[in-house]
């Protein structure tokens, strides 16, 4: 049995079986699901990369194979999938309809693997649609205003998917085949205007999934609304399918004479990064904040890809992997806080460091990675991105990215401080540390982000293989994996501060250890009510956390930019269309005679028009 088919059967079959299992033997469900994901990871990693299947279905030649690029994204999907499944066994404890949840969870993982392995556009679209509706069913799994959120998500995904289908069909119209290999070498024979149309349509399709600016409206609601264990996978891996699509399209389908496409995409991504970061800063709910920060991070990745240089693409892919790691941890941490403390509204909950220390350490490390502070991976990615943009002289882009990453400090500090530091709220005294199956994935992932900071080589290696598929085959010659780092690089001649970096690293670790151990015991814990309030009696219910208008001045400063959100344009468009459609409805006015008159009028019209049509 070909291991590709085995993989798909395992995941999809497992999904259906888990639904049935939940109906009859609920206790076995969690164990089975984790075991299944372990098996899937095992099959995925032990599969030799040359396996390929070709077969006919419905008269169309389909081809499945894991190219090295697909393997890179496959790593993200399978590892993050495994960890978020483990996490969700604890996170979803006590919730209803778990069979339905796990089935759709596994369906989306399976469809993501399907997308990555499909070497032809039809199976790509086939799995893309399965991913869309299975993730849709989880987005609307629970929570308030499900209707609005779900509908926004499905409409935008539908617009994306169907513009992609249109592009696929046009490509088929011109090249006569769906196989990527045939398309890549015959695409440039088509008329330039059609090439542009195909590129734009595919861009819309992938843009929706990676939440580029005009198409991002669904993302905040979907990321913050669905259960946190799925959002970790959602923002970590699902959005990477959009990035995978971009990579596929940007380098193979867009010929170099319409380089404008790359520029436009880069600028769109830059605008997305800046605006999304601003929105993230002014959010008061941790989940919404992280959702907007995901959109911003995706913006960076797409800028990296769109820059087109070797280093830029490498930076983009590296950030893609990193983003999956630290965003996954952050969403899991927020999920842990939500589960233990009941709310993630930063104006209510604060000072959880003493009660949830391990969650705090995990989110501290991923915040550092997110903000791009040196010792951790974020810095490596950001550094490569800046280098790439400067060398390919996109100076304005550099300014935009710099602006948004500095603003990123603000919201990363806010989430850290909002949830964990600061005085404690008396009503959260009962909060205990998150259960073990939640902590293990978080700590593992934060461990990876630390590792990728100091030794990025073990991630850059598969990225380099992947880039060969995207047409960048100038590999960096024979270097040890630990050397493949900006810090200790004998490769990038830009930075040679090897020993200085080691010293900084050492100081950072020692300082961190000293502060936590020494300061941990002696602190006097002060609740938010224990402050001198010059004689006024503080009622227990008024909210003294200073988190309320944390960034008010900043918000006032950028308010003109954010006043007219893009959602309002969409709602106006929707209402306008609905009103128009209401007019069309009036045609059927219920009077049978009018219908008969329509028939006769149509007959008369046809008879008159007939003279033109049938030449009589």
């Amino acid at each position: 049995m070909n291991s590709l088919i085995l993989l798909l059967i395992l995941v999809f079959g497992g999904a259906l079986f888990s639904y049935l299992l939940n109906k009859f033997l609920p206790i076995l469900r969690d164990g089975f699901v984790v075991l299944l994901m372990l098996l899937v990871n095992y099959v995925f990693f032990t599969m030799d990369s040359s396996t390929q299947i070709d077969f006919e279905m419905g008269g169309i030649h389909l081809q499945w194979a894991f190219t090295s690029a697909a393997f890179l994204f496959g790593i993200i999907v399978s590892i993050l999938g495994l960890l978020s499944i483990i996490y969700s066994t604890a996170y979803m404890k006590g919730k209803d309809r778990l069979g339905y949840f796990y089935m759709n969870f596994l369906f989306s993982i399976g469809s993501m693997l399907g997308i990555l392995m499909s070497r032809d556009l039809i199976s790509l679209f086939f799995f893309w649609e399965i991913m869309t509706w299975s993730s849709y069913f989880i987005v609307i799994y629970s929570g308030k205003d499900v209707d609005k959120r779900g509908l926004k998500y499905i409409v935008f995904s539908a617009i994306g998917a169907y513009s992609m289908l249109m592009a696929i069909v046009i490509i088929y119209g011109f090249t006569g085949s769906f196989l990527l290999t045939d398309i890549f070498d015959s695409i440039f024979a088509i008329k330039a205007s059609y090439q542009l149309a195909i590129a734009i349509l595919l861009m819309i399709g992938f843009g929706v999934k990676s939440a580029l600016m005009p198409l991002h409206v669904w993302a905040p609601g979907a990321y913050s609304g669905s259960p946190m264990s799925f959002t970790a996978l959602f923002s970590g891996a699902l959005s990477k399918m959009g990035v995978f699509g971009f990579a596929l399209v940007l380098f193979n389908l867009v010929s170099n004479q319409n380089w404008l496409v790359n520029e436009v995409i880069a600028w769109l991504a830059a605008i997305t990064a800046v605006l999304a970061t601003f929105y993230a800063v002014i959010q008061s709910d941790a989940k919404k904040l992280l959702a907007y920060s995901s959109i911003a991070q995706l913006g960076y990745i797409v800028i990296g890809l769109a820059s087109g240089t070797y280093l830029g693409v490498m930076a983009g892919l590296f950030l893609a992997v990193l983003h999956a790691v630290f965003k996954g941890t952050l969403f899991m941490a927020v999920g842990a806080v939500e589960r233990q403390a009941g709310t993630t509204d930063m104006t209510k909950v604060s000072g959880l460091i003493r009660k949830m220390p391990w969650t705090f350490t995990a989110s501290l490390i991923s915040i550092i990675a997110l903000a791009g502070i040196p010792p951790l991976g974020g810095f490596v990615g950001k550094w490569m991105l800046y280098e790439a943009l400067i060398t390919s002289d996109h100076y304005y882009l550099v300014i935009m990215v710099f602006l948004s990453s500095t603003a990123a400090f603000l919201y990363s500090y806010r989430i850290l401080f909002g949830l964990f530091l600061g005085q404690e709220e008396p009503e959260f005294a009962h909060v205990k540390e998150a259960p073990l199956p939640m902590l293990i994935p978080m700590l593992l992932l934060s461990g990876i982000s630390v590792l990728s900071g100091t030794f990025p080589g073990f991630i850059l290696e598969p990225i380099q293989d992947a880039m060969v598929v995207f047409g960048f085959d100038s590999r960096i010659p024979n270097i040890e994996w630990w050397q493949l780092t900006v810090l200790f690089n004998s490769w990038g001649d830009k930075v040679v501060l090897q020993n200085v970096m080691i010293a900084i690293m050492g100081v950072f670790l020692i300082a961190l250890a000293f502060i936590t151990i020494k300061g941990y015991r002696k602190q006097r814990y002060v609740t938010t009510k224990d402050i001198s309030s010059s004689g006024e009696i503080i009622q227990p219910e008024d909210n003294m956390t200073f988190q309320i208008d944390f960034y008010k001045p900043f918000e006032r400063a950028i308010w003109p930019l954010l006043k007219r959100r893009i959602d309002d344009y969409y709602t106006d468009l929707g209402n306008g269309l609905e009103a128009l459609f209401d007019l069309v409805r009036r045609i059927y006015n219920g009077n049978g005679q009018f219908y008969a008159i329509y028939v006769m009028a149509f007959l008369a019209l046809l008879l008159i028009a007939g003279t033109k049509y049938f030449g009589f």
């Binding site: 006919e56 008269g59 779900g150 509908l151 219908y595 028939v599 149509f602 030449g615």
Partner: protein, 496 residues
Amino acid sequence: MVISPVQYIAIPLMAAFLIPLFGKLNKDLARIIPGLVLLYLSYISVVLMNQIISSNTIIVEIIAGWRPPWGINLVFSPLTGFLASMFSMLGFVIWMYTYNFKPEVDNAQKQKFYVLFMMLITGATGIVLTGDIFNLFVFLEITAISAYSLTAFYRERDGAEAAFKYLLIGSFSSTLILLAILLLYTQVGTLNMAEIALKMPGVDPFMKGVILILFFVGFGIESELFPLNGWSPDVYTQAPGPIGAIFAGMVVKAGIYGLVRVVFTLFDVKEILPLLVIIGMITMAVAEVIALRQGKLKRMLAYSSIGQMGLVAVAFGIGTHDSVFAAIFLMFNHAIIKGMLFLSGTYLVYNSTEKTLDDVDGIGKHLPFTSFLFALGALAIVGMPPFAGFWSKLYLLMAAADVRLMTVIAIILVVSVIEIVYYFRVIHRIYFRERISTIELKIPSFNAKLAMFILAIIIVAVGVYPDLISGFIERATTDLLDKQSYIQSVLSVGLK
């Protein structure tokens, strides 16, 4: 008795005449007979389809012993055979659904219901099988008369109003078709379709144009094209549940078959095809747009069914081999999926008089099986991949891309987005709303569930592995487009 296509019509007629008698002997015998008849018809469908597929020939059966131009003949070719067997099998599944559909109806009425139910299916099968234009008109009338009476079947609904509208426009359709047949007879002097097709080039273009337009409008009314489908939303909403499924599955298919047979086989006028594409596009756009604004479940399903028929018309209108293949695939899918949507939809709004979408809120918990099938049908009709709808829409788009009809592709996809919106809005209401309405729900009987389940299995099976069906459809396409072989095999029958 050797198995031959005439039994598709003769046996149900015999059964129809006998049901009133059997009704006197024992009450529920009248309910069983249609099932037996349809089961037998499904059996002979399998035998006959196997026969024509293996021997790769067309069965032409003459009636009353007279050779085609003088007698009436039935044609059981890959296209007509495929449709006839689809009708019988789908009819059997729907019969299973109606076995104890509304037990509170009096026995006399139930007996009449089953006679009309069976005749509706026989009429549609007759339209498809017959090789004689006037005979096709007679079967059209059989379908129409039983459709009028079935629409007005329930007293408490506005059935009479819907039936009267349908009758008014239906009688226009039959008048136009009769006029067209008359003019055709004066020009070619015969009523047999093969002979007409043979002599058609000789007819002077003005007459050919007028006749074609009369046929186009006549059959257009039956196949719900835009300006002519005023009747269909009302009829779908007022007719009993399973009858709605039969309308969507068979009656409209027979209508569009008539139109296609006239356009492709009888006439050689190729200018009508772009008109068919334009009318199909308008039908699809208007119907889907109105479906978006619908407050009632069954009326929404009706408009969505009209929209799908618009899609089929567009597919036939493009006229290439691939597009006709996609059209027949769309017809098959639409019959099965829309049939299931109507069957499951009926139980969702069983006892509510207004049948608005609010009655469907939060029903997922109370009727898990039926609402799951309804959601599956919605996913399928919208064209989500693992289900059958995806392949037919894909083939149509591929065919349109071959002939560079970019605007057609764009409009089809925009309409699909609209379709997604209003179907997913209903799924929302079913699963993610609290049930506030006090209407007590009816749990579907076992055989109803079985019927819906069979259709669901077919949808998923064809969705996952379309080659199950595409072999038959490929033959049907070549059969429809290959006019010469149709004429040659019909006119040469009986020439010993």
